[in-house]
Symmetry: C2
Subunit: 380 residues, 2 copies
């Protein structure tokens, strides 16, 4: 059975100014606004606060969030929500902020500790209204049914999957991308590509997710380079925001694969950018997964703009993989996990943790712990 | 600003059996099941009742619905809902049934008469949970924010547009298409094509609606003929169900154009199949609208499978129009409004009513009453 679900989406330059109005439409009186230091410095929090005030809403703020966000950060946010008697949540930022905003919503309405909700469909009570504003064109969390939070004691990422986590409204404002650094633009853009490719070859892919994933791949191939090249290329920012949205819709409904399973396991231990880890592992996993659906890899090559006329699927698949490697080189993304601080001694443990990740279930090729280790060594 | 909103979708053979479970998940205790005579004879109502009983729900039924459904049919349904103390609504059928189910939901929760809600965003109070099951691969109403109801006194169709009308869950079950007659398969299939083309060239089209509209066109071009040819071609039924869904998502968010504006005006007066009226008018409106976006019409030709290499947009656009005419001929759809009972004397009045229809606003080319009359004469 093909299932597809998404939030109401408002996409366009200036969308961020509608945050308060959206919450008001959802019946909110006092909103908890979740953000982080980068978002505050970029000036986006101020705009969101103004939109809430203009809509006649009270508000409180919470911003103690790090990359690869932690369980205790969600708990602290939930205390603020409860103490301040909020009744709705806005998250404004990248994937870390939005995932914490979702986790705060879970704890504030369902109680307990965040690890109680790890896995699929563990949330029973309804969440408060959620309005999420993406400022990175990367995570897709603003439209997804996922929240990924680090278990700080066990140093692993917990994947929480539930339809309740789909925000009520997602605001996607390409203008917010102009404040991102070149490095972050590259990293989050490669995360988008990974979402699109992994959801396209996922065992849970459907025609409804495929149209989104395919469009996202075409857009990344055309617009990621120019988006990294210039903060001021508005067309590239808009198209990358659309790519991020579409890849997010694809993976929220088709789930992901081995790249994300490994990246979650690594992100639980090391403070690396999620998109960087993905981009190192992506070509290796594509090589490994090729066996599972040669025709889909041929289609990936075509979507990325490669000429596959007269090629066998194997040859076309190699072109797709080479294309992904070249793109990552062109935009200066890290090429090895060891360059980012990953230690060889961690490989065995990370492989075991990755094998248990929810994303591994939809990887198109069966995989065992030795194969995961080998993929990690290739990326090392 | 690009806005996009849709219900949770469950698509696949057997989806209809989940109706009761879906209502139960939405908190329902007693469901009003809205259907019509054709649905009952095909056995689908019985299946929906069983799924409700299996889910532990009570139910009541309402089935006094005609094609181009009327205001008094909605009022009668609302009385049943209230008398029977229902708290959720399932609509199972084609566009007429689903539009009445939505209108019943409006009246049961907001009171008044259905004409109070004509136009955009006139519904203020929340509707009961809505689960809609499409059995025609045509109307797209199961995913749309529209309900089109005949004002029986004024003999015109009222278009009601509101986000509240988007069902909570849309169930799309290609197996239900196997009971449709050849004539109905052709008519509803051409309605799908009209939705896809009108939303693609609509002034309100966005990249998010375009991906849906484009895919729908490709699927209609490939699968409508075989779907009309055989009740038992499962692949064709599945693909036409997907086309209907995607065209529905496109037009719900991008709205429609002159074809639908005229078809609504005609449908308010004559008991004709909506898809038949659309298919007669579509090529004439395409010719008229070509001026507004030649490149989009070239793309339509390509999506329908035409070779446009080396052609100017005008030539490619003519191929698109010829393709649509040929498809309608091939599947035996009516070619003239007069063959369906339309009277020449009605043209002036119908043109005036059509010009006021909500769908006219997004038609890509400006249009006046003389031009509408001329289009009607071409289709006459």
């Amino acid at each position: 059975m093909n299932k597809f679900v998404m939030p109401e989406v408002i996409f366009g330059n200036g969308a961020i100014h509608q945050a308060g109005e959206c919450c008001s439409r959802l019946g909110a009186k006092k909103v908890l606004i979740v953000a982080d230091e980068g978002v505050i410095q970029a000036g986006w929090l101020e705009i969101v606060i103004k939109s809430c005030v203009d809509a006649g809403l009270s508000y409180a703020c919470y911003q103690d969030i790090t990359i690869n966000p932690k369980d205790f950060e969600a708990e602290k946010g939930a205390s603020v929500y409860i103490e301040q008697e909020c009744d709705a949540i806005i998250g404004v930022g990248g994937g870390s902020v939005i995932d914490i905003a979702k986790a705060v919503a879970i704890l504030a309405s369902n109680g307990g500790s965040i690890s109680d909700y790890e896995g699929v469909d563990r949330i029973t009570l309804p969440l408060p209204p959620l309005v999420m504003i993406s400022t990175t064109a990367g995570s897709g969390s603003e439209v997804s049914q996922f929240s990924v939070i680090v278990d700080s004691k066990q140093q692993k990422k917990m994947t929480i999957v539930s339809k309740s986590l789909i925000p009520d409204i997602a605001l996607i404002d390409p203008e917010t991308l102009a404040t991102k650094s070149e490095k972050l633009t590259a990293s989050t853009g490669l995360d988008v590509l990974t979402h699109a490719i992994e959801s396209f070859v996922s065992l849970a892919a459907t025609p409804l997710t495929d149209v989104q994933a395919k469009n996202a791949m075409m857009l990344v191939a055309q617009y990621l380079r120019p988006s990294v090249a210039s903060k001021y290329n508005k067309e590239a920012k808009e198209q990358m925001a659309m790519a991020s949205l579409q890849a997010g819709l694809a993976f929220s409904n088709a789930i992901l694969g081995a790249v994300h399973a490994m990246a979650h396991a690594i992100g639980g231990k090391y403070p690396m950018l999620h998109g960087d880890v993905n981009s190192v592992l992506l070509p290796h996993v594509m090589e490994f997964n090729f066996l599972a659906s040669p025709n889909k890899f041929m289609e990936i090559a075509q979507l990325l703009g490669e000429d596959t006329r007269g090629l066998a699927p194997q040859e076309a698949g190699r072109k797709a993989i080479a294309h992904v490697k070249q793109l990552s080189l062109d935009i200066g993304a890290p090429q090895r996990l060891s360059d980012m601080g990953f230690e060889e001694a961690a490989i065995e443990n990370v492989a075991e943790v990755a094998l248990q990740d929810a994303c591994m279930i939809t990887n198109p090729r069966d995989i065992n712990v030795q194969q995961v280790e080998e993929l990690l060594r290739k990326g090392f």
